[in-house]
């Protein structure tokens, strides 16, 4: 029953919440895939905004669950209303979905064979990883943080290694509370966070990674629809053969996908490039910057690494914007998206270091 509830949650809620973002979606983003993936970005960004202050003010985990559930409910309702409103627009999501379906039926038999192989590869990979274990020492921290939140109803107040109350808040990890998100999912699914991370989260995060690359591929090979499945197959092949060291994003995804670092490297960063490529349709607009801002927030949930490196990456995009549009304002407006990084960095350096 828990698995059924969780499956319904991870399919329906991100999609409904993604609909809220319809007014700021353009081009390929405004599709079933784009709405679903940006829905996830919205979910993670909202969770970050809500969780960090609650951790700092020592609020209970159950309060967070209640508040976040209410907000998700409201966002879902707003999303559905937005969808109804969008039906009247010139290029509605409904039209984009019909278009996408037509494109699929027009694809060559080779391309369809590619989709079939990709699907079988994905299923095989998930079955293999669910029936195999990878013993990673970091789970003694991240998975146990999730366990402790559910068990002690506190967040980052227990020393995960020993179970004794922690002496002060450990800011480096508390400012990127991805494990608490898995605690939340475990409450939805009524299962132990350890079981959730090692089982349910594994195929979910692999699926999200490949979908985000698929969206990127759709933007890159826009004119050659027959090559989309080839793009996805090559991405999957690259991931399968990506175990060249313990540091690659590919290794993180296929061994410990539930850790925040892996979510950053395999979901948020491909989505960052999806967002950057939104500018291929038109010059970057405010609407596109809203999505970039959400991505920055979601990246902060995953790892403190993003505080510095995400700022640099957004900075590079801002420079490209400034040069392309030949306007200082374009540079500054894109650069404003790093404000959450500055805030979190400031808190860490001031309070936590």
């Amino acid at each position: 029953m828990g698995y059924v509830l969780l499956t319904l949650f991870v399919i329906c809620v991100p999609f409904a919440c993604g609909l809220v973002l319809l007014p700021v979606m353009r081009g390929e983003d405004k599709s079933l895939l784009g709405v679903y993936l940006y829905g996830w970005v919205f979910l993670l960004a909202l969770f970050f905004v809500l969780t960090v202050p609650m951790i700092m003010f020592k609020r209970a985990f159950s309060e967070l669950v209640m508040l976040y559930s209410i907000l998700l409910g409201l966002a879902s309702i707003a999303g559905l209303l937005q969808f109804l409103r969008d039906l009247r627009s010139k290029r509605s999501l409904r039209m984009a979905i019909c278009e996408g379906r037509n494109v699929f039926f027009r694809e060559s038999p080779w391309a369809k064979l590619g989709w079939g192989i990709a699907f079988l590869l994905f299923v095989g990979l998930c079955v293999f990883l669910l029936t195999h274990q990878y013993l990673d020492g970091d789970d003694a921290y991240y998975v146990v943080i999730s366990q402790d939140a559910v068990h002690s109803n506190t967040m980052y107040r227990v020393n995960p290694y020993s179970g004794y109350p922690g002496l002060g808040l450990e800011y480096r990890h508390a400012l990127c509370p991805m494990p608490i998100f898995f605690s939340f999912l475990s409450v939805i699914g009524k299962m132990s966070p350890a079981v959730l991370c090692h089982n349910f989260a594994c195929p979910l995060l692999i699926l999200l990674t490949f979908l985000s690359y698929l969206l990127l591929g759709r933007k890159l090979v826009k004119e050659h629809v027959n090559y989309r499945s080839a793009f996805l197959l090559l991405v999957m092949g690259f991931y399968l053969y990506g175990m060249v060291s313990v540091y690659t994003a590919e290794r993180f995804l296929l061994t410990i996908p539930w850790q925040g670092k892996s979510v950053l490297a395999n979901l948020i960063l491909p989505m960052f490039w999806v967002n950057a490529m939104a500018s291929t349709e038109e010059n970057r607009t405010h609407t596109n910057r809203v999505l970039l801002f959400l991505l920055v927030l979601a990246s902060l949930l995953c790892s403190t690494t993003s505080v510095f490196y995400m700022s640099v990456a957004v900075g590079i995009l801002a420079i490209v914007d400034g040069i392309r549009m030949r306007r200082w304002s374009a540079f500054v407006l894109t650069l404003l998206c790093i404000l959450p990084c500055v805030a979190v960095g400031g808190i860490y350096l001031y309070v936590g270091a």
Binding site: H132, Y161, G242, T304, T305
Partner: protein
């Protein structure tokens, strides 16, 4: 300066090992720069990726990044979408191939590049068949479940190999030290840990230190040599509860008599 350059090279080597992973990605980037006609793809995909690569190699930037923020410099390379880059270059090669035979040849070339430059994750020796839903060795789960069944408020001390898994399986259990004790830099002097990890168990020391550290349940390896097996534990009122696999579980049967305060004490986070 020299140290920073060394750090950059070490990060690069650690990230890619001796594989052709980064070489293939750089080749893909160069190929795309040569063939890409779409200026917007160039501006928002290829130039930023090249900029990230160049920044990664600049010592001043590396010094700032590691000093101000993150010591894990290799994570900068996560911002390069290697898989997307490789796949896009592959697709462009396929598009450039004019007939079916050439496309098949390109496809085979791409497969050879993948197989030759990377390692198949599924063959990694650390991926072993899962024994339960926790993805933790079953023997450890059996021991932990036996300890939980005692329903004791006391902390439990376990051998080193089980430290990482106890609280993943059962967060209610308290342990006097955790994985941090095994990690260089976080290790603190702890006589109980030293006694538990000695090649020969000294039961007297383990029993005494356990009581000093409010540990009421002791899990020791059944086969490890020890001074007067079981006797010293018994003399210190630790009773053998069960033997699960290769582990003996002892419980302090007089913990009420000693009237110890079992309230968890605060511990510093590491």
């Amino acid at each position: 300066m020299g140290k920073t350059v060394d750090m950059i090279l070490t990060s690069y080597r650690n990230f890619a090992g001796a594989s052709g992973y980064l070489f293939v990605s750089l080749a893909a980037l160069v190929f795309l720069f040569c063939t890409e006609k779409n200026k917007r793809v160039l501006h928002y995909f290829l130039y930023p990726i090249a900029a990230i690569w160049i920044l990664f190699l600049i010592p001043l930037y590396a010094w700032i990044a590691t000093t101000v923020w993150d010591a894990s410099y290799y994570r900068m390379l996560w911002f390069v979408p290697f898989a997307g880059l490789f796949a896009y270059a592959g697709v462009r090669l396929l598009i450039l191939a004019e007939d079916v035979m050439r496309r098949i040849a390109v496809g085979l070339l791409l497969i050879c590049l993948l197989v030759g430059s990377g390692n198949l994750i599924l063959t990694d020796s650390r991926l072993t068949p899962a024994q339960n839903a926790y993805h933790v060795p079953q023997e450890y789960v059996d021991v932990i479940e036996r300890v939980v069944a005692l329903d004791s408020p006391m902390a439990v001390v376990v051998p080193r190999e089980m430290l990482e898994y106890v609280r993943q399986v059962e967060p209610r259990l308290l342990i006097p030290y955790g994985r941090d004790q095994m990690t260089p830099g976080w290790h603190q002097d702890n006589e109980l840990y030293d006694a538990m990890e000695a090649s020969t168990y000294n039961e007297e020391t383990i029993a005494t230190q356990s009581r000093l550290q409010n540990v009421g349940i002791i899990v020791v390896e059944h086969n490890r040599p020890r001074t007067e097996k079981g006797i010293r534990f018994l003399n210190n009122y630790y009773k053998l509860i069960d033997v699960v696999g290769n582990y003996e579980i002892y419980e302090d049967v007089f913990y009420d008599y000693f009237n110890l305060d079992w309230t968890p004490k605060e511990q510093p986070n590491t």
